[in-house]
Amino acid sequence: MEFPEDLKYTREHEWVSIEGSVATIGITDHAQEQLGDVVFVELPGVGDRMEKADAFGVVESTKAVSDVYAPLSGEVTEVNDDLPDNPELINEDPYGDGWMVKVAIGDQADLEDLMTADEYRKFIEESATE
């Protein structure tokens, strides 16, 4: 189970990579493992507004539909065009080729609510049943 140190995390199992005013967002290794084989991804369009805590996309396995939630507010500047034809990239490389969207950060204060890798790891351990 991977928890890259240089990323931030949410309780809904998204990761955020911040470079200046641009955030790259995807779902975590834990999330893709829980989901199983990803067979379909629904992404917003470039130029769409992203609102913190709202669902901005969907990731689907053979059996289930899972919403992906916005860790912050801003404008979508790029989406991963490889994902529609290769949804399995999310399973194979969730922090790399499986990235979902890039967002121009609207309010830097949103980043304060994100967890560090250690906090996210603890969060998962505490939430695990049995």
């Binding site: 199983g36 084989d37 053979t62 059996k63 539909v65």
Partner: protein, 365 residues
């Protein structure tokens, strides 16, 4: 507190992820749904389906009781033959879909869905009151069930020296031994592939499972298969799942199972209602859909023609074999040839009616 089968620890050791299904904690996947699905379509897979129920019907009145509770003609079964058959209520709604095995001159066994086992037992005991000479034996807790499915399933059985099982015709059944365990073996299944269902005493199901897994070789791999792949396999084969394509509100006629309903065999529970449905014409029917735009149809999504809702999806997935989104849907009979769409999160996604099954194994029918 969910029940567990005798194989639970073996599943954990094999890395299974679990889910709750009909009150049981069952493996949903091991290596992954897509890999497991491909394993069954190409080679051989093992399913723990011990959660399913087994009800034996015995005595001189056994045939009469089987005929009364289910739609297919049990009189057609010789010893060692099985048939798919549906239990209906008086109003024609479905109580369960089952397989009926004839094990002896006056000995039959229904395999019922896990979620309906208690209701089926109560129901058949009630119906038994009107059938003299019929005895009902609940074997649900006594028997475990392993399904070995795939084009190479027969080879696995042959390598274990079980010629009697390998020689079974489709829907044949026999009581025999396999890897030292007493089994009821049947050439039946829920995947659209060749294969066997093996009923075995609960105390022996773990050793039988292990013996089958131990037969895995480089030239014939056997892998455990979870409920996730079980669902994608049966859906590609267009096999109904109770609670989706069949329910108390969906009759077997609406679900396209007229071939398993033999109204001419004599009276049975639900016969008058089914006859009336047939004569009046069915208001809705189960059809196959293929999505023609990106998206996956799921159970309960509306099926529309323009702005009008004309049906509902009962099951849907992305077919691992076809690589495209497929679905079963109940559609209003007057809309069978309409231009259709499935509503996915508020968006209309074009869909086309296609013939069933979506997948048929090479050489079948």
């Amino acid at each position: 507190m969910a029940r567990r089968t005798p194989l639970h620890e073996l599943h954990r050791a094999a890395g299974a992820r679990f889910t709750e299904f009909s009150g049981w904690e069952m493996p949903v996947q091991y290596a992954g749904v897509i890999a497991e699905h491909a394993q069954v379509r190409s080679s051989a897979g093992l399913f723990d389906v011990s959660h399913m129920g087994e009800l034996e019907v015995r005595g001189p009145g056994a045939l009469a009781l089987c005929q009364r509770v289910a739609t297919n003609d049990a009189a057609k079964l010789g010893v060692g033959q099985a048939q798919y058959t549906v239990w209906c209520a008086e109003d024609g709604g479905t109580i369960d879909d089952t397989i009926l095995y004839r094990l002896g001159a006056e000995r039959y066994m229904f395999c019922v869905n896990a979620g309906n086992a208690a209701a089926c037992l109560d129901w058949i005991r009630e119906q038994q009151k009107g059938v003299p000479g019929a005895e009902v034996v609940d074997r649900c807790d006594e028997l475990g069930l392993i399904a070995l499915q795939g084009p190479r399933a027969a080879e696995v059985v042959e390598r274990l020296g079980a010629a009697a099982i390998a020689a079974l015709p489709r829907f044949g059944c026999t009581e025999t031994t396999l890897a030292g365990a007493s089994v009821i073996a049947a050439r039946t299944g829920y995947t659209g592939e060749d294969g066997f269902e093996l009923f075995v005493g609960a105390g022996q199901v773990a050793s039988l499972w292990q013996a089958l897994m131990d037969m895995s070789r480089d030239d014939l791999r056997i892998a455990p298969i979870g409920l996730g792949a079980r669902d994608t396999l049966r859906l590609e084969a267009a096999l109904p799942l109770y609670g989706h394509e069949l329910s108390r509100d969906i009759s077997p006629l609406e679900a396209g199972l007229g071939w398993a309903i033999k109204l001419a065999k004599g009276d049975f529970v639900g016969a008058s209602a089914l006859r009336r449905q047939k004569e009046a014409g069915l208001p809705r029917r189960l059809v196959g859909l293929a999505l023609r735009e990106p998206g996956i149809a799921r159970a309960d999504y509306p099926v529309k023609c323009g702005e009008r809702v004309v049906g509902v999806v009962t099951s849907g997935t992305k077919s691992p074999t076809l690589g495209s989104a497929i679905a079963l849907a109940l559609l209003a009979s007057e809309s069978l040839d309409a231009a259709l769409s499935v509503e996915i999160r508020g968006r209309a996604v074009a869909a086309e009616r296609v013939g069933l099954p979506f997948y048929r194994r090479a050489g079948a029918r």
